[in-house]
Structure formats: C-alpha cells, structure tokens
C-alpha cells in the first residue's frame, strides 16, 4: 500500500560510510534509501563571541542541497541566499546535536557540522541529524586521541526520523512520494530513549492525540534502528 511496498513500520535501508573526505576531522555519507547526505565535522579552536572565556564548547550546523539533488532543479542558494526553509532546518540540526553534547567536557572550542544533500528523496533533515552526529563523534574521537579532550562529551547518539499519516495510515520513515501527499507529518529527534525535539505539522488537516501517540511509537522503533547503525559506524 505504500508506494515503495514497505510495511507501515518499515524503515528504508540505512548505510553510513565514514571517512569519506580527506580534509574534514570527521565525515560520513549517510544513505537512507535514496536520500544521500554528506556530513562533515570541522573543529575550530575559536568559539563564537558570546562564549569567549566561558570554558564551554559549541556545536553548530549548516545545511545545503545541491541544485539537482531534487527531481526538479532548484535555484542555487549561493546565488539567491538561504531560504527560510534552509535556515529552519539548519537551526534544528544544530539544536538537536547540541542537546546530546556535554559542553563542559568538550571544552572551549567549536565544531561545525556541514550537512550537504547530494540526493534527496524525503527525510533530508532527519538523515542530516543522524549522519551529523556520526561526523561529530568521529571529530571528537580525534580530539580525544590527541588528548585535547579527556572525558567523552558525547554519550548517547542523537538520531532523528520522520513519521506521518499517509493514506489514513500511520507510517514510518516517509519517502518523497509519501511526504508530498501526507496530511500530517512529524520529525522526532531522540537520544538515550528520550525526546529532544518533536515537530508535528498538519497541512490542510488536523490530528488527534491518539494519532500522535501512534507516530511516537513508530519513531521510537525507527530511532532504535538508526542508533544501532550509528554505533556500528563509529566503532
């Protein structure tokens, strides 16, 4: 009944390849079905001005999409400036990753996570968070190996998944054909079995608390699978 033939609670296949670029301190290419995101983490020993001499670290994220990552070519943001949607997504990624960081343990430095969508088929913000955490973890491992960080500031992985109501059914991990039709969809960011961020939105529709609970059940299942893939990738 889903365009892809998946079960309602079935994820797309997930692979996370690490060490994909020679320059970044941490990097991975995450593939959630046909959604492919290149994530890199850059260590910067300077923090933003508001954290100077605070002893606290910072993690921030930027997000982009190659113009032809999508079915129809989008205008290049370098020529037109970042859209509101892009800014909203990169704020979410940064906030989500920070929620899983012990900023005292990280020490006064910044890590910038770049998430660039190479190919899009729905769920790019969730894939960015999940893959972004892997890149971040790899960069932190490098800092720890060098002795620059002693206690691991990243304990549990941060992962994210979308769920929605498609053709009247609650389904896990929307791909683009589902996402563009779903009356209700949500993004769920979790770490260590708890929630960091919930964003549910109805377009021309509404939803009940019971439906919301159904989607949360699906999200918990999905995040558990993603977390497994993340731990495998960074070990």
């Amino acid at each position: 009944m889903r365009p892809s033939g998946r079960q309602t609670n079935e994820m797309r296949p997930v692979t996370i390849e690490t060490g994909v670029t020679m320059h970044a301190e941490g990097s991975c290419l995450i593939k959630c079905g046909n959604t492919h995101v290149l994530c890199t983490a850059t260590i910067d020993e300077r923090v933003p001005p508001f954290l100077k001499n605070s002893g606290l670290g910072w993690v921030t994220a930027e997000y982009g999409m190659l113009p032809r990552a999508t079915n129809t070519r989008m205008r290049r943001e370098a020529k037109n400036g970042q859209s509101g949607r892009t800014q909203e997504i990169q704020r979410l990624i940064g906030r989500s990753l920070r929620a899983g960081v012990d900023r005292v343990a990280l020490g006064e430095r910044q890590i910038v996570v770049d998430c660039d969508v190479i190919q899009a088929d729905g769920g790019t913000r969730c894939a960015s968070i999940t893959g972004g955490w892997v890149a971040l973890k790899l960069a932190v491992q490098k800092l720890m190996k060098a002795g620059d960080v002693v206690a691991d500031p990243l304990v549990d992985p941060v992962a994210a998944i979308s769920c929605g109501i498609y053709a009247g059914q609650e389904v896990l991990d929307l791909d683009y054909p589902e996402d563009s039709e779903a009356g209700v969809d949500g993004n769920f960011v979790m770490t260590g079995g708890k929630l960091i961020e919930v964003q549910m939105s109805a377009e021309g529709s509404t939803f009940t608390r019971a439906q919301m609970d159904g989607l949360l059940d699906l999200a918990e299942k999905g995040v558990a699978e993603l977390t497994q893939a993340q731990l495998t990738a960074v070990s």
Copy 2:
C-alpha cells in the same frame, strides 16, 4: 514558585481589542499579559502565481518585532533582513492559520495577516496565531457582509499556547523569565479540539513521553480559554 506567582496551570490575563486600525480589513490588539501583538488582515484579490485560476484561496502571514519590544534593543530587521527565527515564526503562523481555512469557500483571493509585536514578554508566536485568527475572521466577516464570500471558510478558531518544564514543573503559558530558563518548551496549535501543530524542543536537556503528555493536557486547557476569548472578540 513561578516568578509571576501564577499556578502551574494558570494563564496570564488575555484581552483582545478589535478594530484598532482604520485601514485594515480586520485588526486586533491582543494582550497576553505583557506580550502585546498588533494583528491586521489585508484582503488582496490577487493570489500567488501558483494558485492562479485554481479557484482556491490563500492565507499567509508576516511577523515582526519593533526594535525595542524587547528588554534589550534588537537590530531593526529592515536594516539587516529577516532573521532565520523570524522566518520560521511567520511560516508557522501562516501554516497554522491555513489549517483552519476552507480554501474553496474563501474563493480565489489572498488574505495577508501581519503580526507585529509591540511589546514582548514570551509567547509572541502563540499570541500572533491567536490574534491573527481574530483579524482574519473580521476580514472574512467583511467579505461575507459584502456578499463576496457565501459560506464561512472559518469554522473553529485556531489558537496557540506555549507550555514548558520550568524548575522541574510542567507549567502553562510561559512568560519571558520562565521561557529563558525552561529546559523544555513547546508550542501547541489547536482547532476544534484537535491538533494542528506541535513543536517541542529541549535545549541542553531531554524529555519523556509522560512529560509530553502533561504539557499537552495543559495546552488543551489553555487553548480552551483562548478560544473563548476569540469567540467573544469576533461576535
């Protein structure tokens, strides 16, 4: 225990004054405690290009804050462009209001809702949605009185409220001192007893499903009170 001395499930006083500007087709000044937002609705007989000849109406929103609406003066957005936060908020307002509109009944025209924060003390996006709906309703009443719209495209009010976990307790309707300390906060948009949008976010923290349920209970109580104020204002 709350800075304001309110009960955990107690809203700030809400007043909605209508007809506050001479030019707009619909307008109100909503005060949620010390948060004051001026909302105007402008009828535009032209729709955006993607709706031309579709027979469908459109509702969109813009949001702004006067530079000294806040405790510290902010830079004027007209000089610096809209921030990511501003764009994110106005996208939310527009999406929320549209969820409560029958776009066929509205007919092929656009209503632009402007929400400008005169004074801020937390919860400006929620007040904008709640007040924005009142301005929108008044503009639609004008269209109906003129016979330009026959069936009312706005049935149930759309209202929004924030809740959060402050000092370990679930509280309703955060003011600025609470909002800036809360580890978890959420915005809940509802109509006719159902949900339109849920945005919950933890900053340097996490939350459980039980906590989420607690906040939803509070939100339902708050939205019921707001809806009452909206109906009084527009009748």
Copy 3:
C-alpha cells in the same frame, strides 16, 4: 474647503501618551489626528566608533512603518530593505533631534530613538520628530534621576509640522488626502522659536517667496501648539 473641514490654520488634535512600553527608557504614543507613531528611546552606553573617547554624546533615529499602517498594504521593509524614502526620513529625524541636544552635557553615550508608524494619515515624519523628542526627554530624565547626567542636555523641545498649498490655499498640518493632492508641501523643524530644518518641495509646480513666507507663518503657529503638548507630556 479642506476635506476634514478644518480651518486653513487649524491643526489636527494632538495627544501624547507617555510610558507606553515597559522596556524602553523613554516612550510615547503620539497621535496627530489619525497619524499614530510609537516612539521609544533606548540608552546605549557605547557610542559609534567615530566618537570613542571624544566625551561627546550622540542621538540617532530609526523610522519604520507597519505594512498595513497605510490604506494599501506596503511591502514589509524587513523583507525588501529600507527604501530611499525611509532612509531619508530617519536621517532627518536624527539630525533634527541632535540639533536640540547639548552633546557635551549628554556625555559619551548614545540614545537611539525608534519611531514606528502604527497608523498613517500624513505627516508621519513630523509626528516622529515631535514624539521622538518626548521619548528622548523621558530617557534623559531617567539618566538625570540616576545622577548619570547632571546638566540637562535638552533645553527647548524640538517639534515639526508640515504645511502646504492645497487647492491654492496655504494650509497647516496636511493630512493624507491633502498631502497627496498638494502641489507644494514643506516640513518645518523648530526649537526655541528658531529654525532647524526647512524642506519645501514642489511636485510638478513651483512656489514664490511670498508663499514660502505664508507657510512659515503657519508653521510657527503649529510648532507653538506642539511644543505646549510636549511640555505637558514630559512634566
């Protein structure tokens, strides 16, 4: 003969309500007929770079209009940048207010006056100057009460009024219907019975020195009345 039925030398009713926002160091809502401007003054202990260590203070102004302050909705400047007209007006407001300030007595600090038009019906720049001076004065009174400023840097009020030639007659205090038809109009900024700024402009027309004198006579009358209202407001 005037659309409003006023005498040629009759001002619109003026009211100045002070203390209208909880955050600003000085604030007022000035109403000149249907033109309503919210003015706030913000004290900033840092001066612009060119005045560092000069011992001199600075006063500057910014001006804006809510999108639906006007009969037809204007595009929001935060989305499109400040127009040339807006910049010209805020330069005028700042220059006018500075002319009435003893910058040595003010001391090395800056006061930013924000003038935001809530509702427009002609004469917004003049109302901004007149109301802006009140907000400025209230902020300075706060500095003096705290002992941060000893000698009052603001002696005489600065006030402004527009006059023009409408339907062949010299009239005082143009409202929008007059302003949009007037072939000649002028803005006159005065303090202590002297002139600070005169801006007279003909659109598709010309004027004589005799007409100019007639408008100056009207302006002196108007400014005298405004000054009275200012002094009442700040005492």
Copy 4:
C-alpha cells in the same frame, strides 16, 4: 575671509562643456570651481510601469561619485550598495528636473539623467541639477530635431545653488572647506524665477527667518548666473 578669498556673494567660475561623450543623447561636463560632474541623458522609449498608456513622459536621475573624487577615497558603491545620502541626492535631482518638464509635451517616454561626480569640492548635488538640465535639454533637442517631440517640454532652465552661514556670514556657493564648517547650509532649486525646492539644515545650530531670507537673496543671484551659463551651453 572665505578660504578661497571670494566675496560673500561671489560664485566660483562655472563652465559647461557639451557633447563630451559619443554615446549619450545629451551630455555635458559641468565645472563649478573644482567640482566636476559628468552628466548624460539617455532616451528610453519605455516608461516605468505606473505610466504605461498614460501618454505622460518621465524624467529620472541617478547620482554617483567616483571613489577618489573626494579627498579621502570612499568605498565604491558598486561593492556596498547606494548609501542613504546617495539615494536622497538622486531623488532630489529627479524631482527637481521633473518640476521643469511638461510631461504631456514630452510624450510617453523616459529620459534618464546620470550625474557622476568626477571631482568633488562641495555643491555636487547642485552642480548635478544644473548640468543635468543641460544634458536633458540636449537630448530633448535631438528628439525635436527628429520630429519625435513637437512642442518643447522644457521652457525655463532648472538650476540649483547652495548657500550657507560660514563664520557667521551668509555666503553663496559653498566649497568643501566652507561646507564642512558651516553650521547652516541650504540648497535652492529654482526655475523661471520661482522656487522648486528649498532644503535648509542646521547641524548643531539653528537659524532665524532673517538669515533664511538672506540666503534666499544670495541664491537668487547665483541661480541667475547659472541660468545664463545653461542657456549659452545649449544654444
């Protein structure tokens, strides 16, 4: 007593060389002392959208300064956008030139006057208006020679001059050393013995009506001389 040794009512030498560029329909290089402005007029058979099918013509102006036209190099506006000052000046030039045009006689076409300051020594906006009118007239003569315009839409020259109070004295045609010291200065635009625009401004000072009259007397003398130079140039 003036830095240049001129009498208080003495202009700088004015020369207007026409036909200085091979491409423009009208052009001149106006020199008011050491202030040199290149003015070109471009005929465009299309009018701005708001005049389509109105039968009315339009004249508009743009103003610029070469980065090293001034004593200290200014940042290039092409890299930083037009300043508020630049926009204010070009709006003044356009408004002034339009005041001297019979837009019905011009017919539905636009003439764009570009005024680019090659070397600046005070009074660039006045020189731009005076020289801009010459370029405009030459372009119109071309239209009339070709039979595209029948009745001359430009009757009297439009010219502008600055006056100010320097070292306590009313002086005509301020150069830069005077302009940067003057407490009061004004720009006066006239045509056919009447006024089009008066802009008087005090910086940290005030002025009386008597002083204003004194400056107007000087301006009338100056404009008469400029008008003579304009008529010689275009005949």
Copy 5:
C-alpha cells in the same frame, strides 16, 4: 621532485563514474587524483529571454564547493553570496562547454551543468569542464534517444587541464601543493585538437613564450588522455 613523486609530464589517475544521481538527466563523478567533482546536467525546455524564438540552444554552468571540500573550511557561499572567483570559474566552464556545442542542432532548449566540488586538491575548474562535458553528453544522448534531438550537437569532447612552472620546471596537472607554490600556472581548454581557451597567469613573476610553448605541449598530452577517459565514460 614533485611532492607527489609524479614525472613532470605525468597526470594524476582519472576516473569518471556516470549515472551517480537518480534525478539528473546526465551525471558523473569525476576524480582527478584527490579532486572530486560531482557534475549534473539538467535539461530545461525554456531558454533565457535573449534566445526566445531564435531556434538556438544554450548551455550554461554553475560551480560550487562544499564548505569543507578544502583543507580549511570555507564560509558557505549560500550565506555570503558567490565570490568573484566562483563567478569567474563558472563563466569559464559555461563558455568552454558552449564552444563544443552545435547550438542549432541542440534546438531551442537549455542545459544547465552544475559542477560541485566534493573534495578539492587543485585543478577543480579543469575537472569541472572535463566532467561537465560528460554529464552534458549523457543528457544529450537522452534527448536523442527520445527523438527530441536528431543530429548530435556534441562532436568532440571538451576537456581541460592545468599546467604550471613549479620549482623551475614545467609540470602537468598541478595538485594543490604545487598550485599554491607555482609562480606561473595556466588552464588549457581544448576540443578536437584545437584550443578553446588559454588562461596563463604569473603571480609575482613572469614567463617567456618558450615556457608558454612548453606548457602547451604538456597540456596537449594531458587533454589527449582526458579525452580518452571521457569517450570511455559516455560509450
């Protein structure tokens, strides 16, 4: 003697993988040593305005670099606008590809080639041209298979290589360590044994015609090898 141990006339290994994205009409990932560029070609049935109803086709290119494609993270162009260097490169790519296209045979449509650098180690503009031609060719093959284009508008491949004088020696295919030290470098674009574009540049140095000839000899060798790789990739 070269940092990489290569002979002076030895290229880095080149691989061109085609069909790397699911959405684009043509795509490849070209790797010239550690320089990796993702090239996509998008067919657009609309041409730019200046070609409407001309019967002629158009090929244009855009170029970008992921922020961490380089050793040090660069600021994201979507936040800061395209740099002069980026614009210069994408103009070169477009001009080079157009030189190898029969625009009549292509018919009135546009193909946009996006070249996005995933990893940079010198020579990114040359790799973009070489890979861009492959993506373009694949898109054209699709048009021909569909019968939308009959005669092949692309006869000979267009390829580009850099050469330079490093440590006093003429060397082929500069990598980043060489490029950053070379006093003279050049980019050579060729097709069918002829030249399309030569850009030679000395930084703090000069070069003779004999040295220029030496670099051209190297470039011819390099382009021959690239052409072979291109033909293999598209067949």
Copy 6:
C-alpha cells in the same frame, strides 16, 4: 577591411594625460581611440589584514563603468552590485599590476588603483591596466620624493593589449565593432618583454597554436608602443 580602416597590425591612437584630478596621489586619463578610462591611485598606509606586520606592500584595483559609457545604457552597478564580469576584470587588473611591483621595496602600505571607464569602445580592461600602471607610478614617485620609499618598486611598465581573429584575420587592438564580431580574442599583459598574463578565448569557435603565435606577435608590437607612451607620460 577593418571597420575603422586600420591595418591589421595598427593600434588606435593612444594618449595619456596625467594629473587629471586634484585629490588622488596619482592619476591619468588614458584614451585608446574612443575608449577613455580615468585611472587614480590612492595610497593607504594600512595593508589588508593578511599582510599585517609582513613588511610587504600590496597593490589592488577596482574597475567600474559609468552607466552610459556604452552605446546602450547599462544598469548602475551601485544599484545592482558588481557583475561577475566586473569582478573578473578588476581581479585581472590587480594581479597584472602586482606582477610588476617589488613588494618589499614598496614597504608595508597599500595602493588602490581605481579604473573608471568614462567612454567605452572595446579594450577597456587593457586600457585600465596600461593607464592604471601610470597612475600607480605617479603615486610611487610621490612616495619616493617624500623619502617614504627609497628603492623604486616599479621597474618596467606593465601594459596590456587585446588581439583577435576578425573576419579570418589576426588583428591588433580590437575596437567594439570588431570585438563583438570576433570569434577569438585575447588579452595579453606584458612587462619588460615578458608575459604576465595571457587570456585567449573562443566564442563558438576554436583556434590553433599557429594562430595563437600570430596574435602573440601582434601583442608584442602593441605593448612596445604602449610602453613608450607610458614612459613619456611619467617622465
């Protein structure tokens, strides 16, 4: 056979007038036929950040065109930002001039060369380089006269000329009618008989090494004549 009647190896008449502006430390107006460029050199005792405390000087250039320097009026770059073409040209001018400067001898200061095209008829970038060197030299002479620079950092003049293939023939110094028709054109920057920069480009065409040699022969002849004019101008 050339539109101008010139021989294939014949330059347009060149004149270089120095000292044309009162403010700049060095200036000239170079006329290459109908192409007229005003070049000024500004000495700035501060260097860009990346050279602080390096002891090295810097030379940079900016380029602009008056809107009606061309046959059809161009949009003013101050209103629209610098085009890619403009940025490409000013980067070339700066790079070319720097190649002829001994940056140690210049000392830690910056010279900014502004090249503004007053009238364009092809070859504006070459005229800018040739005239820009003269302005630069004059500014350096001023520094040497003042004893601020001891050893002359400018030995041989830097000059540039365009050549191209027009109507099948290799011609020297393209004017606009030739430039807009030429299938191949090139810009050649030289100093002391050696090359600094070669930019050859075919639009919808290709060229052979033999043709390239032919153009280089022409360029050498042209540069020799320009060098003579430069030396005359600065002595």
